[in-house]
Symmetry: C2
Subunit: 143 residues, 2 copies
DNA sequence: GGCTAGTAGTTGCTTTTGTAACTAACAACA
DNA sequence: TGTTGTTAGTTACAAAAGCAACTACTAGCC
């Protein structure tokens, strides 16, 4: 006997559908403009938004695996969007820093992101948005 | 000059973080129990929850590309979880149907899904959940 | 019938991700 | 000093996703 079950009530499914739908459209922007991958724009945005830091710090903040970050950092470096600086006190660390070109790209994409977010937000009430964001943050923190 | 921007306010990012966090934990269940992939449990749940249908219908309902569904269907067939029936009137179509074993697996995973969802839901108020689901459905429908 | 166009589904190839093993550097302590 | 354990980051290989070209079939139209 088959149980009744509606995927439209299952949170992990709903979250994925919503996440895919929204981020696919934003992806088009950074991909077509700068040939960037998902992890690359995330790294760029962490450095641009929160200042210089090591790869490890990005891993912790973004919840990304170090191999993904490692590859993204290299890709951004190849594009001349960021620059590494070895720390003399501990040569295992490298401080990552956006180049002027990287900052320009970041600023450009921040503009896109803000417009994109506003357009999404315009479809909902302030109450809905407040609740949404609060709940999403708590869900994300479960991991 | 670098603009101020907080990823924690950017919806596509928040949605992805929340979706990743929740579905990663559910993934462990169907992966460890039945060696299933993400697309495979989706296909299984569409057939189990909404009845027999063609691959095309699953594509439309789930917003999945036909190649992904094609491979998932084959994988489920190899596991003896579903069975294909050619439609004589139009031999391009195949009706997909869960086998008794497939139904057992579906029922088992529905149980897991319900428990999983309840545990997630218990952290939020009814109001929050209502708003969340309503907003997520609308976001998902944008695509 | 025979041509053209369109649809359902599959296969092959490339890009991206995931995982585990590796290197290089530091730290602590015998 | 040297040995053991730990950390930051990379590399190499396997699994999965994405994309385009393909097969097999149906439908419409001449």
């Amino acid at each position: 006997m088959t149980q009744d079950f509606d995927l439209k009530d299952f949170m992990p499914y709903l979250l994925n559908q919503a996440a895919d739908a929204t981020s696919l459209r934003f992806q088009k922007l950074y991909k077509s403009k700068y040939g960037m991958l998902r992890t690359e724009w995330r790294v760029l945005f962490h450095l641009g938004g929160y200042g210089d830091m090591t790869a490890k710090e990005i891993c912790n903040r973004a919840g990304l695996h170090k191999t993904k970050v490692s590859r993204a950092v290299r890709a951004l470096q190849d594009k001349r969007f960021l620059q590494r600086t070895e720390v003399p006190e501990d040569r295992r660390h490298e401080i990552l820093k956006l180049t002027p070109q990287g900052e320009r790209v970041f600023n450009d994409l921040v503009g896109d992101a803000k417009r994109f977010d506003e357009k999404l937000a315009s479809r909902f009430t302030t109450d809905e948005l407040d609740t949404l964001k609060r709940v999403l943050v708590r869900l994300a923190d479960l991991a």
